[in-house]
Symmetry: C2
Subunit: 315 residues, 2 copies
């Protein structure tokens, strides 16, 4: 499970909590703070929990930064983290800041709730479908964006993407990573989800396999479709498949929820999330009888997910 | 306050939680795990909370260790942490392990409780006395022990301590740091404590000042006595006062509770803790009328706290 659940001494309540921290992966410290917060909360959302009672912030500022750099960067990271927590309807009380050779940003998210407020992710049944709420390819986009300044790397991919494509993909990735999975979690209850996980460091397939392994029923997950940030599938191929994106192994940061939904509810789930947030979700696979495994079919369909325009601005 | 307190949506309950992590400071990885756990829990105990509902473990294993070193050291640290959590009547569900240039060990401790289970540390009144439940000098002892192998350092202190003194002090410090402040917290309720803090990185005076600043009443803290691990006051003096031990600035790890107690209850508190745990506690100062400050008198009395023997063994 993405969060730990502890029965409490009081009133049939449960403590659901999680911790996560990550390393900087975008240039903008404010966005980095938002991403770290969304990434921490995502483990609660994967359990269908929509209310977070408190967050702690864990920040390690790099010893390799100058004092001036620290003074500029640290408050921006903290502001991003706080703004994201506020957007999630929670607040940050407590935490710790240290210096460390590597900059790390993360937190702890805790909720005390009744048992009907969380969904234990072990209830998939044959005939369910799998829904994914964010596109894949954040790691590819972030790396490709760095390669704009590294000619020997750029030369390997410039035949398949333009400078402009990469910048758009990077913006789309940042926006996606900073987006909360909160609406996705709320709709899990409305559409009777049978369980979910969030897609992060182990890639789509890694997390699908973990989720499959924990099912009560003898089921397996088969993935047919891979929604990927536009052009990033081509980039992943062009650089010798180092990311293993289409094999489902490319790491994501603050990725979407992968949700088991009753077949007849899945389309309505996707429609509802798009109506509320303006973002697409995709039915990417099915749940069939099996030995609690997960796989991607031989030639999955890649869905190119374009960067979006809103009020004329890329977001 | 040492922990954050969040009112919850359910049943008049509160979430009390804290996070802390530290760097290795003793040679023994198992003891290091115990110390890190005791240090994390100590912030709850300072609030008079005696039950911890869940802990998360946060571990960063050093990139500079060989794989073999990691394989040996990491499980020992984790075992120490877990054993200490078990001793505290809690368990560890969740956490994160990463690699990082610096090894760090810490955790998160959370409790959901009724308002009568914690003591907001703002209620000191004139006439109270200050009790300290562990001796000072852990940092001095840990450093002096390292200097046994560094001749130019050792030469500065060898006139005032023997090899044997330093080894005993180091054992005493390790034992003290690994000891839980749980009984100390429980007795705070029995003897009507008006507030407490735990003594850690900012030294006795630093934490006393913070505690004084947060009092509702116009009070100040005056410290007369400094219980110090045997010989460590002399070591601190001999090495040019770099620790500022007698000025109250020497950092402690997993130090004792500094508690404001009604004068007529303090002696009974100290007696009770010694009866239950076999460790002394000391009345070290008084609460007088003032502007919420704390100070140590000009020539404080240094109480030499010997290493202890139990069943013929140093502990």
């Amino acid at each position: 499970m993405d969060s730990c659940v502890t029965p409490l001494r009081h009133g049939g309540l449960y403590l659901v909590q999680t911790t996560d921290f990550i390393y900087p992966l975008v240039d903008d410290p404010y966005m980095m703070g938002k991403i770290a917060c969304a990434n921490t909360l995502s483990d609660l959302y994967a359990m269908g929990v929509t209310e977070c009672d408190n967050m702690l912030m864990l920040l390690a500022v790099s010893t390799k930064m100058t004092e001036r750099e620290r003074d500029v960067v640290t408050p921006l990271i903290m502001r991003g983290f706080k703004d994201s927590a506020m957007e999630a309807g929670t607040s940050i009380n407590g935490g710790q800041t240290v210096v460390n050779p590597w900059c790390t940003i993360g937190g702890v998210a805790s909720t005390v709730c009744q048992p009907n407020e969380f969904i234990v992710p072990d209830n998939a049944v044959v005939g369910d479908v799998l829904v994914l709420t964010k596109p894949l390819g954040t790691q590819v986009a972030v790396n490709a964006h760095q390669w704009l300044d590294i000619p020997e790397r750029w030369n390997r991919i410039k035949l398949v993407v333009s400078d402009e494509d990469v910048r758009k993909a990077y913006q789309r990735a940042m926006d996606s990573m900073a987006r909360l999975n909160r609406v996705a979690a709320r709709l899990m209850h409305k559409y009777n989800a049978h369980g979910a996980t969030d897609v992060t460091g182990f890639g789509l397939l890694g997390h699908a396999q973990t989720l499959a392994k924990h099912q009560k029923n003898e089921v397996s997950f088969v993935i047919h479709n891979l929604p990927v940030i536009a052009k990033m599938a081509a980039v992943a191929k062009a650089c010798g498949n180092m990311f293993q994106l289409l094999q489902g192994h490319s790491a994501e940061t603050s990725g979407g929820l992968l949700i088991c939904l009753p077949r007849e509810q899945a389309a309505a789930y996707c429609k509802d999330i798009e109506k509320q947030e303006g973002y697409q979700a995709w039915i990417i696979g099915i749940v069939e009888k099996g030995m609690r495994t997960a796989r991607i079919i031989d030639k999955p369909r890649v869905i190119e997910v374009p960067a979006k325009e809103k009020d004329g601005e890329l977001w």
